[in-house]
Amino acid sequence: MIKANVKKSTFPSTVPTNKTKIPIQTRLTKNIVFLGLLSFAIIILYPLFWMLISSFKSYQEIYSNVWAFPTEWKFENYSLAWSKGISSYFFNSVYVTASTIILTVLIGAMAAFVLSRYKNRWIDVALLFTIGGLMMNPQVALIPLFEILTITNLIDTHWALILTYVAYRLPLTIILIRTFFLTVPKELSESALMDGCTEFGIFWRIYLPISLPIVVTSVILTAYFAWNEFLFATVFINSSELKTIPSGLMVFRDALRTDWGVLLSGMVIATVPMIVLLIFLQKYLVRGLAEGSVKG
């Protein structure tokens, strides 16, 4: 920490020395580049800002003056959106996302434990089987999964989403957690074994607690996926009252037609949890994305 501070405090002093060499030209390029960064930030932020502002407007106001701030802030758009369906989509999403997280991380960590602790021919096969799962994608499996879920009577239930989400999240989760498990010192589990700890105990009391950072990363990546997944959510769930936010918003749009303010409020409500997650857990999310190089 101290080292980092020293570095930071020394670098402003190096800037002026650079400036004295070719001052005008460098400052000009820097300003141009900075303006570029700023305009790109505006391109990203403005539509989001517009969504937020317009979610407080009436249809007439959005239609007659797109750019303006609302003359009268219609907070009731939010309560209307909430009561007209968003609340049910929201809780469905929470339920599906939470169940997916618990199952994925638990099952994934168990598999990662086996795949990092043992070595034999069967483990190699199991590892290959897991990595191979990365090659598959929801689009290709859509029709067969639809058949399987229909036969098993799971279609149009939340389990249709939870089970398939878990399956598609497992390979990446296992690989991430396994990489971390491989770094756990052997001495820890050996001494625990001597003290009479079972294999399960080693997993539960040593490996899982030590790996908290990677578990958090996996939780976030799974949450991000399950909260935003669209294709399965659209095809596997028909009943409007069972829909999750991504597919529910489509129903919402078709039902509302011109109630744009209310639709925009619903969109804002759908967005807030993920933005909060980003702000608080940025570090874990980015590491997970970088290590797993994103899938889906």
């Binding site: 960064l37 239609y63 598999a111 090659m135 029709i143 399987i148 036969i151 993920m274």
Partner: protein, 294 residues
């Protein structure tokens, strides 16, 4: 005694994973290839064997060709913008001078990545709206009203409008991945280059670019695979239209199966998507050495 040596824990621990992957990933994959040889409908599950008919259909399907071309356009534009532009952006944000603002820009650029695609697509419905759309009224504002058009309703601009939205959403992600790998470059490489008198642009090409070669390749593969699979964006914005002008393979597959109820041919299209994406996924697994110990 020897029998006891076969440990039960690893088998029990592996079992759920094997079941999940088997039931929901591997069986569907096989099932999909199998389905390609049959004529069947969503409603009646009886299947009629038709041999290679569905594969022959693939070669005379004009919509599939439009879709494939659109997927290729998607891939080319995404690679150019997301991989090259994102690398430059990442290098700028990691530059000494900009580092103090970098944190704010990073969070801003990354924001759309976190937002659900249905929210983004609905939002861009407003951006592209011909009457009240932000894009058209912005063009009017700066005096370019002759450029204004119904972006999604026009068969030449529809696919590009969809692609543009995708870039807007995911450039922050690739930028972030590049930032992570630029941060891993040893600082003395830059110092050495600076002492040799290399300017910033020179340092970018002779230090940054070669040092993030592997990350670039992985991002390239991820982007191309994503472009082959793209479904959500065009489905929500245009549903492949107007006409079939913004069709992609995944939407064509979905419509053939669930709208036109030709499940057999939809399975054939899915097999095509699988083969195309699997090639890139395989290379990616090879390159990133997933599962290999250091």
């Amino acid at each position: 005694m020897k029998v006891k040596k076969v440990k039960i824990t690893p088998i029990l621990f592996m079992l759920p994973t094997v079941l999940f992957l088997g039931l929901f990933i591997y069986i569907p994959l096989i099932q999909n290839f199998y389905n390609s040889f049959f004529e069947f409908s969503v409603f009646s599950q009886s299947k009629e064997f038709v041999g290679l008919t569905k594969f022959q259909q693939l070669f005379v399907d004009e919509v599939a060709i439009i879709a494939l071309v659109n997927n290729v356009k998607y891939a080319i534009i995404s690679v150019l913008l997301q991989v090259f532009f994102a690398l430059v952006l990442a290098a700028i944000l990691e530059d000494k001078f900009f580092r103090r603002f970098a944190h704010v820009f990073r969070v801003i650029y990354f924001m759309p990545v976190m937002i659900s695609i249905s929210v983004i697509a609905l939002l861009f419905g407003f951006v592209y709206n011909p009457q009240i759309g932000l894009l058209n009224s912005f063009l009017e504002l700066i005096g370019l009203e002759q450029w204004a058009k119904p972006w999604l309703g026009n068969s030449t601009t529809a696919i590009y409008s969809v692609i543009a939205m995708s870039q807007w959403q995911s450039i922050g992600l690739i930028t972030m991945l590049f930032i992570v790998s630029i941060q891993k470059i040893p600082k003395d490489l830059y110092e050495a280059a600076e002492i040799d008198g290399a300017g910033k642009i020179r340092r970018f090409f002779s230090v940054t670019v070669p040092q993030v070669k592997e990350a670039t390749f992985v991002n390239l593969l991820v982007t191309v695979t994503g472009s082959i699979l793209v479904f959500n964006e065009p489905y929500i914005l245009t549903n492949g239209g107007p006409g079939n002008s913004s069709m992609t393979l995944a939407i064509h597959m979905y419509q053939t199966g669930f709208v036109k109820d030709d499940m057999g041919y939809a399975s054939t299209l899915a097999s095509l998507i699988f083969l195309l994406s699997a090639i890139f996924a395989l290379i990616q697994i090879k390159v990133s050495k997933t599962g290999k110990e250091e």
